[in-house]
Protein backbone atom coordinates (compact mmCIF):
# COMPACT_ATOMS: atom_id res chain seq x y z
CA UNK A 1 0.00 0.00 0.00
CA UNK A 2 3.03 2.24 -0.25
CA UNK A 3 2.40 5.51 -2.01
CA UNK A 4 -1.38 5.37 -1.86
CA UNK A 5 -2.96 7.21 1.06
CA UNK A 6 -4.59 4.89 3.59
CA UNK A 7 -8.39 4.56 3.46
CA UNK A 8 -10.36 6.95 5.65
CA UNK A 9 -12.06 4.06 7.39
CA UNK A 10 -11.25 0.39 7.44
CA UNK A 11 -13.30 -2.11 9.40
CA UNK A 12 -12.13 -5.70 9.35
CA UNK A 13 -14.53 -8.37 10.55
CA UNK A 14 -15.85 -6.24 13.40
CA UNK A 15 -17.94 -7.98 16.02
CA UNK A 16 -19.48 -6.21 18.94
CA UNK A 17 -21.66 -7.42 21.78
CA UNK A 18 -23.09 -5.13 24.43
CA UNK A 19 -22.44 -5.96 28.07
CA UNK A 20 -25.97 -7.43 28.27
CA UNK A 21 -24.96 -10.01 25.67
CA UNK A 22 -26.79 -8.49 22.70
CA UNK A 23 -24.75 -9.08 19.55
CA UNK A 24 -25.07 -5.76 17.72
CA UNK A 25 -22.37 -6.35 15.09
CA UNK A 26 -21.54 -9.80 13.71
CA UNK A 27 -18.64 -9.42 11.33
CA UNK A 28 -18.74 -6.09 9.54
CA UNK A 29 -16.03 -5.32 7.01
CA UNK A 30 -16.09 -1.92 5.37
CA UNK A 31 -13.61 0.19 3.46
CA UNK A 32 -14.25 3.88 2.90
CA UNK A 33 -11.93 6.02 0.79
CA UNK A 34 -11.04 9.58 1.80
CA UNK A 35 -13.66 12.00 0.48
CA UNK A 36 -16.35 9.38 -0.04
CA UNK A 37 -19.87 9.90 1.30
CA UNK A 38 -21.46 6.74 2.53
CA UNK A 39 -24.97 6.26 3.86
CA UNK A 40 -25.47 3.42 6.29
CA UNK A 41 -29.04 2.19 5.90
CA UNK A 42 -30.99 -0.35 7.83
CA UNK A 43 -34.00 -0.94 10.04
CA UNK A 44 -34.05 0.00 13.72
CA UNK A 45 -31.86 -2.25 15.79
CA UNK A 46 -29.73 -3.28 12.80
CA UNK A 47 -26.55 -2.07 14.47
CA UNK A 48 -26.22 1.27 12.69
CA UNK A 49 -25.64 3.43 15.75
CA UNK A 50 -23.33 0.84 17.26
CA UNK A 51 -21.29 1.05 14.09
CA UNK A 52 -21.03 4.85 14.45
CA UNK A 53 -19.65 4.56 17.95
CA UNK A 54 -16.97 2.13 16.76
CA UNK A 55 -15.57 4.76 14.44
CA UNK A 56 -14.18 7.04 17.15
CA UNK A 57 -13.41 4.47 19.79
CA UNK A 58 -16.37 5.11 22.10
CA UNK A 59 -17.06 1.41 21.72
CA UNK A 60 -14.31 -1.07 20.97
CA UNK A 61 -14.93 -4.19 18.90
CA UNK A 62 -15.09 -7.43 20.84
CA UNK A 63 -13.44 -9.01 17.79
CA UNK A 64 -11.93 -7.58 14.61
CA UNK A 65 -10.33 -4.21 14.09
CA UNK A 66 -11.15 -0.64 13.13
CA UNK A 67 -8.68 1.82 11.72
CA UNK A 68 -9.09 5.42 10.73
CA UNK A 69 -6.70 7.20 8.34
CA UNK A 70 -4.34 4.29 8.87
CA UNK A 71 -4.40 4.58 12.67
CA UNK A 72 -5.72 1.65 14.68
CA UNK A 73 -8.67 2.74 16.82
CA UNK A 74 -7.95 1.89 20.42
CA UNK A 75 -7.01 3.30 23.81
CA UNK A 76 -3.54 4.27 22.64
CA UNK A 77 -4.55 6.68 19.87
CA UNK A 78 -7.85 7.89 21.25
CA UNK A 79 -6.92 11.58 21.17
CA UNK A 80 -5.63 11.38 17.62
CA UNK A 81 -8.74 9.45 16.51
CA UNK A 82 -11.19 11.89 18.07
CA UNK A 83 -9.43 14.76 16.39
CA UNK A 84 -9.92 13.08 13.02
CA UNK A 85 -13.41 11.65 13.46
CA UNK A 86 -16.23 14.01 14.40
CA UNK A 87 -19.50 12.45 15.50
CA UNK A 88 -22.76 14.40 15.26
CA UNK A 89 -25.21 12.67 17.59
CA UNK A 90 -28.89 12.41 16.87
CA UNK A 91 -30.16 14.69 19.67
CA UNK A 92 -28.40 18.07 19.52
CA UNK A 93 -29.32 18.69 23.17
CA UNK A 94 -26.86 15.94 24.05
CA UNK A 95 -24.10 17.83 22.28
CA UNK A 96 -24.75 21.42 23.27
CA UNK A 97 -23.89 21.41 26.94
CA UNK A 98 -22.12 24.75 27.35
CA UNK A 99 -23.96 27.98 28.25
CA UNK A 100 -23.54 29.55 24.81
CA UNK A 101 -23.20 28.23 21.28
CA UNK A 102 -19.76 29.79 20.85
CA UNK A 103 -18.50 28.25 24.08
CA UNK A 104 -19.80 24.92 22.94
CA UNK A 105 -18.08 25.14 19.58
CA UNK A 106 -14.89 26.12 21.42
CA UNK A 107 -15.07 22.99 23.59
CA UNK A 108 -13.46 20.63 21.08
CA UNK A 109 -10.65 22.96 19.97
CA UNK A 110 -9.89 23.75 23.64
CA UNK A 111 -9.50 20.05 24.32
CA UNK A 112 -7.07 19.91 21.39
CA UNK A 113 -4.99 22.49 23.25
CA UNK A 114 -5.16 25.23 20.62
CA UNK A 115 -4.32 28.85 21.42
CA UNK A 116 -7.12 31.27 22.25
CA UNK A 117 -6.66 33.04 18.94
CA UNK A 118 -6.92 29.82 16.92
CA UNK A 119 -9.93 28.71 18.93
CA UNK A 120 -11.65 32.00 18.19
CA UNK A 121 -10.92 31.65 14.46
CA UNK A 122 -12.24 28.08 14.45
CA UNK A 123 -15.43 29.10 16.25
CA UNK A 124 -16.11 31.86 13.72
CA UNK A 125 -15.27 29.57 10.82
CA UNK A 126 -17.52 26.77 12.07
CA UNK A 127 -20.40 29.16 12.76
CA UNK A 128 -20.34 30.54 9.24
CA UNK A 129 -19.88 27.07 7.71
CA UNK A 130 -23.30 26.10 9.09
CA UNK A 131 -24.94 29.45 8.46
CA UNK A 132 -25.09 30.57 12.09
CA UNK A 133 -22.63 33.48 11.83
CA UNK A 134 -23.30 36.05 14.54
CA UNK A 135 -25.29 33.66 16.72
CA UNK A 136 -22.42 32.49 18.91
CA UNK A 137 -23.54 34.38 22.00
CA UNK A 138 -26.97 32.71 22.03
CA UNK A 139 -27.88 30.03 24.52
CA UNK A 140 -28.78 26.67 22.99
CA UNK A 141 -32.32 26.79 24.39
CA UNK A 142 -32.98 29.94 22.41
CA UNK A 143 -32.36 28.13 19.13
CA UNK A 144 -34.88 26.27 17.00
CA UNK A 145 -34.35 22.53 16.62
CA UNK A 146 -32.86 23.00 13.16
CA UNK A 147 -30.47 25.65 14.46
CA UNK A 148 -29.46 23.37 17.34
CA UNK A 149 -28.64 20.67 14.81
CA UNK A 150 -26.47 23.11 12.86
CA UNK A 151 -24.79 24.31 16.05
CA UNK A 152 -24.03 20.72 17.07
CA UNK A 153 -22.49 20.14 13.65
CA UNK A 154 -20.44 23.32 13.97
CA UNK A 155 -19.23 22.04 17.34
CA UNK A 156 -17.77 19.05 15.52
CA UNK A 157 -16.52 20.93 12.45
CA UNK A 158 -14.50 23.26 14.69
CA UNK A 159 -12.22 20.34 15.43
CA UNK A 160 -11.54 20.15 11.68
CA UNK A 161 -12.11 16.42 11.46
CA UNK A 162 -11.25 14.46 8.33
CA UNK A 163 -14.28 12.24 8.79
CA UNK A 164 -17.76 13.28 9.79
CA UNK A 165 -20.08 10.66 11.26
CA UNK A 166 -23.74 11.60 11.52
CA UNK A 167 -26.42 9.64 13.36
CA UNK A 168 -29.85 10.25 11.80
CA UNK A 169 -29.05 13.76 10.57
CA UNK A 170 -32.55 14.46 9.26
CA UNK A 171 -34.50 13.11 12.24
CA UNK A 172 -37.03 15.60 13.67
CA UNK A 173 -36.07 18.35 11.20
CA UNK A 174 -38.87 20.18 9.42
CA UNK A 175 -38.68 20.13 5.60
CA UNK A 176 -36.88 23.46 5.35
CA UNK A 177 -34.33 22.68 8.06
CA UNK A 178 -33.84 19.25 6.47
CA UNK A 179 -33.13 20.80 3.10
CA UNK A 180 -30.81 23.48 4.53
CA UNK A 181 -28.93 20.94 6.57
CA UNK A 182 -28.58 18.68 3.53
CA UNK A 183 -27.13 21.63 1.64
CA UNK A 184 -24.57 22.20 4.37
CA UNK A 185 -23.54 18.53 4.35
CA UNK A 186 -23.31 18.46 0.57
CA UNK A 187 -20.94 21.44 0.68
CA UNK A 188 -18.45 19.83 3.07
CA UNK A 189 -15.22 18.30 1.84
CA UNK A 190 -14.98 15.72 4.64
CA UNK A 191 -15.44 12.01 4.28
CA UNK A 192 -19.00 11.45 5.47
CA UNK A 193 -20.58 8.42 7.05
CA UNK A 194 -24.24 8.99 7.65
CA UNK A 195 -26.58 6.61 9.44
CA UNK A 196 -30.17 7.09 8.40
CA UNK A 197 -33.44 5.55 7.35
CA UNK A 198 -34.36 8.65 5.39
CA UNK A 199 -33.63 7.07 2.00
CA UNK A 200 -34.18 10.17 -0.18
CA UNK A 201 -31.76 12.04 2.08
CA UNK A 202 -29.16 9.31 1.59
CA UNK A 203 -29.71 9.57 -2.15
CA UNK A 204 -29.30 13.33 -2.10
CA UNK A 205 -26.07 13.41 -0.12
CA UNK A 206 -24.28 10.09 -0.49
CA UNK A 207 -23.15 8.45 -3.71
CA UNK A 208 -22.62 5.15 -1.94
CA UNK A 209 -24.81 3.22 0.46
CA UNK A 210 -24.31 0.27 2.72
CA UNK A 211 -27.28 -1.72 3.98
CA UNK A 212 -26.80 -3.24 7.37
CA UNK A 213 -29.18 -5.72 8.96
CA UNK A 214 -28.82 -8.09 11.86
CA UNK A 215 -25.33 -6.77 12.53
CA UNK A 216 -24.04 -7.71 9.08
CA UNK A 217 -23.58 -5.87 5.81
CA UNK A 218 -26.35 -6.93 3.47
CA UNK A 219 -25.50 -4.77 0.49
CA UNK A 220 -22.90 -2.20 -0.55
CA UNK A 221 -22.98 -0.15 -3.73
CA UNK A 222 -24.00 3.07 -5.48
CA UNK A 223 -26.97 4.61 -3.66
CA UNK A 224 -29.08 4.75 -6.82
CA UNK A 225 -28.59 1.01 -7.44
CA UNK A 226 -29.48 0.13 -3.87
CA UNK A 227 -32.53 2.34 -3.71
CA UNK A 228 -33.60 1.07 -7.13
CA UNK A 229 -33.62 -2.55 -5.96
CA UNK A 230 -37.12 -2.93 -4.55
CA UNK A 231 -36.53 -6.53 -3.52
CA UNK A 232 -33.45 -5.61 -1.51
CA UNK A 233 -35.22 -2.74 0.25
CA UNK A 234 -38.20 -4.90 1.13
CA UNK A 235 -35.97 -7.66 2.48
CA UNK A 236 -34.44 -5.22 4.96
CA UNK A 237 -37.54 -3.26 6.00
CA UNK A 238 -36.45 -0.18 4.09
CA UNK A 239 -39.02 1.87 2.22
CA UNK A 240 -38.93 4.83 -0.08
CA UNK A 241 -41.66 7.38 0.63
CA UNK A 242 -44.85 6.69 -1.30
CA UNK A 243 -44.67 8.29 -4.75
CA UNK A 244 -40.92 8.89 -4.62
CA UNK A 245 -39.32 8.56 -8.03
CA UNK A 246 -35.58 7.96 -8.28
CA UNK A 247 -33.75 10.40 -10.49
CA UNK A 248 -30.20 9.50 -11.34
CA UNK A 249 -27.71 12.22 -10.83
Amino acid sequence: MTGASPPAIELTDVHYSYPDGHNALRGVSLWVEAGERVAVLGPNGAGKSTLCLQLNGILEPTRGSVSVCGIAVGKKHLKEIRKRVGVVFQDPDDMLFMPTVAQDIAFGPSNLGLSEKDIHARVEGALSAVGLAGMGARSPHHLSYGQKKKAATAAVLSMEPEILVLDEPSASLDPRARREFGGILAGLSQTIVMVTHDLPYAHEICERSVVIDGGRIAADGPTSDILGDAGLLAAHDLELPHGYVMDHH
Binding site: G86, D94, F97, M159
Partner: protein, 243 residues
Protein backbone atom coordinates in the same frame (compact mmCIF):
# COMPACT_ATOMS: atom_id res chain seq x y z
CA UNK B 1 -42.59 22.42 38.71
CA UNK B 2 -43.17 22.78 35.01
CA UNK B 3 -42.77 26.51 34.82
CA UNK B 4 -39.01 26.14 35.31
CA UNK B 5 -38.15 26.63 31.69
CA UNK B 6 -40.29 29.72 31.47
CA UNK B 7 -37.51 31.40 33.45
CA UNK B 8 -37.68 33.45 30.25
CA UNK B 9 -38.65 36.32 32.52
CA UNK B 10 -35.25 36.71 34.10
CA UNK B 11 -33.40 35.91 30.89
CA UNK B 12 -35.27 38.46 28.83
CA UNK B 13 -34.69 41.11 31.50
CA UNK B 14 -31.01 40.23 31.87
CA UNK B 15 -30.57 40.61 28.12
CA UNK B 16 -31.77 44.21 28.37
CA UNK B 17 -29.67 47.32 28.50
CA UNK B 18 -28.93 49.87 31.24
CA UNK B 19 -25.83 51.28 32.91
CA UNK B 20 -26.14 48.39 35.38
CA UNK B 21 -26.32 45.83 32.56
CA UNK B 22 -23.22 47.26 30.96
CA UNK B 23 -20.99 46.84 34.02
CA UNK B 24 -18.47 44.02 34.02
CA UNK B 25 -20.02 41.00 35.79
CA UNK B 26 -17.03 40.89 38.13
CA UNK B 27 -17.69 44.42 39.37
CA UNK B 28 -21.32 43.54 40.03
CA UNK B 29 -20.48 40.27 41.77
CA UNK B 30 -17.87 41.81 44.06
CA UNK B 31 -19.94 44.93 44.78
CA UNK B 32 -23.21 43.16 45.53
CA UNK B 33 -21.69 40.32 47.52
CA UNK B 34 -19.74 42.91 49.49
CA UNK B 35 -23.00 44.71 50.18
CA UNK B 36 -24.65 41.52 51.38
CA UNK B 37 -21.73 40.76 53.69
CA UNK B 38 -21.94 44.23 55.21
CA UNK B 39 -25.71 43.83 55.68
CA UNK B 40 -25.31 40.44 57.32
CA UNK B 41 -22.70 41.80 59.72
CA UNK B 42 -25.00 44.59 60.96
CA UNK B 43 -26.37 44.17 64.52
CA UNK B 44 -30.14 44.35 65.17
CA UNK B 45 -30.94 47.99 65.86
CA UNK B 46 -28.74 49.47 63.14
CA UNK B 47 -31.88 50.61 61.39
CA UNK B 48 -30.34 53.62 59.63
CA UNK B 49 -27.66 51.36 58.18
CA UNK B 50 -30.25 48.84 56.97
CA UNK B 51 -32.30 51.66 55.49
CA UNK B 52 -29.26 53.10 53.66
CA UNK B 53 -28.40 49.73 52.17
CA UNK B 54 -31.98 49.22 51.03
CA UNK B 55 -31.89 52.71 49.54
CA UNK B 56 -28.75 51.82 47.57
CA UNK B 57 -30.45 48.69 46.24
CA UNK B 58 -33.59 50.58 45.29
CA UNK B 59 -31.35 53.10 43.54
CA UNK B 60 -29.74 50.22 41.59
CA UNK B 61 -33.17 48.86 40.66
CA UNK B 62 -34.00 52.27 39.20
CA UNK B 63 -30.68 52.60 37.37
CA UNK B 64 -31.11 49.07 36.01
CA UNK B 65 -34.63 50.00 34.81
CA UNK B 66 -36.15 46.95 36.46
CA UNK B 67 -39.92 47.13 36.78
CA UNK B 68 -41.16 46.94 40.41
CA UNK B 69 -43.78 44.20 39.73
CA UNK B 70 -41.04 42.08 38.16
CA UNK B 71 -38.69 42.63 41.11
CA UNK B 72 -41.43 41.83 43.63
CA UNK B 73 -42.37 38.67 41.77
CA UNK B 74 -38.74 37.53 41.78
CA UNK B 75 -38.52 38.29 45.48
CA UNK B 76 -41.39 35.98 46.44
CA UNK B 77 -38.71 33.34 46.91
CA UNK B 78 -37.94 34.91 50.31
CA UNK B 79 -41.45 34.44 51.71
CA UNK B 80 -40.62 31.24 53.67
CA UNK B 81 -37.68 33.04 55.28
CA UNK B 82 -39.85 36.01 56.18
CA UNK B 83 -42.39 33.68 57.78
CA UNK B 84 -39.61 32.13 59.84
CA UNK B 85 -38.42 35.61 60.85
CA UNK B 86 -41.99 36.57 61.77
CA UNK B 87 -42.05 33.75 64.33
CA UNK B 88 -39.09 35.14 66.23
CA UNK B 89 -41.02 37.78 68.28
CA UNK B 90 -43.14 34.99 69.74
CA UNK B 91 -40.35 32.62 70.53
CA UNK B 92 -37.27 34.48 71.78
CA UNK B 93 -36.48 37.44 73.99
CA UNK B 94 -36.02 40.68 72.03
CA UNK B 95 -37.54 38.75 69.19
CA UNK B 96 -39.06 41.78 67.53
CA UNK B 97 -35.74 43.48 66.81
CA UNK B 98 -34.11 40.17 65.93
CA UNK B 99 -36.97 39.19 63.64
CA UNK B 100 -36.89 42.57 61.91
CA UNK B 101 -33.11 42.33 61.43
CA UNK B 102 -33.36 38.81 60.02
CA UNK B 103 -36.16 39.88 57.72
CA UNK B 104 -34.15 42.88 56.50
CA UNK B 105 -31.02 40.81 55.94
CA UNK B 106 -32.93 38.24 53.92
CA UNK B 107 -34.62 40.97 51.90
CA UNK B 108 -31.32 42.71 51.19
CA UNK B 109 -29.65 39.46 50.18
CA UNK B 110 -32.45 38.42 47.87
CA UNK B 111 -32.84 41.87 46.33
CA UNK B 112 -29.10 42.09 45.67
CA UNK B 113 -29.13 38.70 43.91
CA UNK B 114 -32.26 39.64 41.94
CA UNK B 115 -30.44 42.75 40.70
CA UNK B 116 -27.31 40.77 39.87
CA UNK B 117 -29.17 38.03 37.98
CA UNK B 118 -31.51 40.47 36.24
CA UNK B 119 -28.74 42.63 34.83
CA UNK B 120 -26.26 39.92 33.81
CA UNK B 121 -26.98 37.18 31.26
CA UNK B 122 -26.25 33.85 32.88
CA UNK B 123 -23.26 32.85 30.71
CA UNK B 124 -21.58 36.16 31.53
CA UNK B 125 -22.33 35.73 35.20
CA UNK B 126 -20.68 32.30 35.15
CA UNK B 127 -17.71 33.66 33.26
CA UNK B 128 -17.44 36.42 35.87
CA UNK B 129 -17.32 33.91 38.72
CA UNK B 130 -14.78 31.89 36.78
CA UNK B 131 -12.51 34.91 36.29
CA UNK B 132 -12.85 35.64 40.00
CA UNK B 133 -11.35 32.19 40.56
CA UNK B 134 -14.48 30.53 41.87
CA UNK B 135 -13.83 26.76 42.11
CA UNK B 136 -14.09 25.26 38.60
CA UNK B 137 -16.05 22.27 39.80
CA UNK B 138 -18.80 24.55 41.09
CA UNK B 139 -18.98 26.78 38.00
CA UNK B 140 -19.07 23.74 35.72
CA UNK B 141 -21.80 22.04 37.77
CA UNK B 142 -23.86 25.22 37.77
CA UNK B 143 -23.33 25.65 34.01
CA UNK B 144 -24.61 22.13 33.31
CA UNK B 145 -27.50 22.57 35.71
CA UNK B 146 -28.59 25.75 34.03
CA UNK B 147 -28.29 24.26 30.57
CA UNK B 148 -30.17 21.04 31.31
CA UNK B 149 -32.78 22.62 33.54
CA UNK B 150 -34.21 24.04 30.33
CA UNK B 151 -34.09 20.69 28.58
CA UNK B 152 -35.67 18.95 31.58
CA UNK B 153 -38.31 21.64 31.89
CA UNK B 154 -39.36 20.99 28.32
CA UNK B 155 -39.42 17.27 28.96
CA UNK B 156 -41.64 17.78 32.02
CA UNK B 157 -44.13 19.90 30.12
CA UNK B 158 -44.24 17.33 27.31
CA UNK B 159 -44.90 14.57 29.82
CA UNK B 160 -47.61 16.60 31.55
CA UNK B 161 -49.24 17.37 28.23
CA UNK B 162 -49.16 13.70 27.28
CA UNK B 163 -50.77 12.90 30.60
CA UNK B 164 -53.50 15.46 30.04
CA UNK B 165 -54.06 14.31 26.48
CA UNK B 166 -55.01 10.94 27.88
CA UNK B 167 -57.75 12.37 30.01
CA UNK B 168 -55.83 13.17 33.17
CA UNK B 169 -57.38 15.92 35.26
CA UNK B 170 -55.30 17.90 37.68
CA UNK B 171 -57.17 17.13 40.87
CA UNK B 172 -54.65 17.65 43.65
CA UNK B 173 -54.91 14.20 45.22
CA UNK B 174 -54.44 12.56 41.85
CA UNK B 175 -51.70 15.00 41.08
CA UNK B 176 -49.85 13.73 44.13
CA UNK B 177 -50.17 10.07 43.19
CA UNK B 178 -49.13 10.47 39.57
CA UNK B 179 -46.31 12.93 40.19
CA UNK B 180 -44.23 10.20 41.79
CA UNK B 181 -44.01 8.11 38.60
CA UNK B 182 -43.41 11.30 36.59
CA UNK B 183 -40.40 12.15 38.73
CA UNK B 184 -39.14 8.57 38.49
CA UNK B 185 -39.40 8.64 34.69
CA UNK B 186 -37.71 12.00 34.60
CA UNK B 187 -34.90 10.65 36.74
CA UNK B 188 -34.30 7.69 34.40
CA UNK B 189 -34.39 9.94 31.35
CA UNK B 190 -31.92 12.34 32.95
CA UNK B 191 -29.61 9.49 33.77
CA UNK B 192 -29.69 8.30 30.16
CA UNK B 193 -29.20 11.80 28.87
CA UNK B 194 -26.26 12.24 31.20
CA UNK B 195 -24.67 9.18 29.62
CA UNK B 196 -25.24 10.47 26.10
CA UNK B 197 -23.88 13.90 26.99
CA UNK B 198 -20.78 12.27 28.40
CA UNK B 199 -20.30 10.27 25.18
CA UNK B 200 -20.68 13.45 23.14
CA UNK B 201 -18.10 15.15 25.34
CA UNK B 202 -15.67 12.24 25.06
CA UNK B 203 -16.15 12.30 21.29
CA UNK B 204 -14.88 15.85 21.26
CA UNK B 205 -11.71 15.05 23.14
CA UNK B 206 -12.90 15.52 26.75
CA UNK B 207 -10.39 13.94 29.07
CA UNK B 208 -11.63 14.97 32.48
CA UNK B 209 -10.88 18.66 32.64
CA UNK B 210 -13.23 21.31 31.37
CA UNK B 211 -11.79 24.14 29.30
CA UNK B 212 -12.61 27.61 30.60
CA UNK B 213 -15.80 29.19 29.37
CA UNK B 214 -13.70 31.48 27.19
CA UNK B 215 -14.90 32.74 23.82
CA UNK B 216 -15.84 36.10 25.28
CA UNK B 217 -13.37 38.66 26.42
CA UNK B 218 -14.09 40.83 29.39
CA UNK B 219 -12.30 43.94 30.47
CA UNK B 220 -12.62 46.03 33.61
CA UNK B 221 -13.24 49.60 32.46
CA UNK B 222 -13.25 52.94 34.21
CA UNK B 223 -16.98 52.71 34.87
CA UNK B 224 -16.49 49.38 36.65
CA UNK B 225 -13.79 50.87 38.86
CA UNK B 226 -15.97 53.93 39.51
CA UNK B 227 -18.86 51.66 40.48
CA UNK B 228 -16.70 49.57 42.77
CA UNK B 229 -15.01 52.47 44.53
CA UNK B 230 -18.30 54.31 45.08
CA UNK B 231 -19.74 51.10 46.43
CA UNK B 232 -16.76 50.50 48.72
CA UNK B 233 -16.86 54.01 50.15
CA UNK B 234 -20.62 53.90 50.69
CA UNK B 235 -20.53 50.49 52.35
CA UNK B 236 -17.56 51.35 54.53
CA UNK B 237 -19.22 54.53 55.77
CA UNK B 238 -22.48 52.70 56.42
CA UNK B 239 -20.70 49.97 58.36
CA UNK B 240 -18.46 52.30 60.39
CA UNK B 241 -20.59 55.36 60.94
CA UNK B 242 -24.19 54.23 61.20
CA UNK B 243 -24.47 51.41 63.81
Amino acid sequence: MGSGHHGGGVEAVAAGDSPMHRLDPRAKIVGLIGLVIVAVSLPPGAWTAFASILAILVGLVIIARLRPPYVLRRMTIEIPFLIAAAMLPFTVEDGLALGAAVGLKVTIGVLAMVILSSTTPFPRLLRGFELLKAPRLITVIVAFMWRYLHVLGEEVSRMKRAREARGYSANWLWQATSTGPLIATLFIRSLERGERVYLAMASRGYEGSMPTMAAERMAIRTRDLAFLSTFAIALASIRILLP
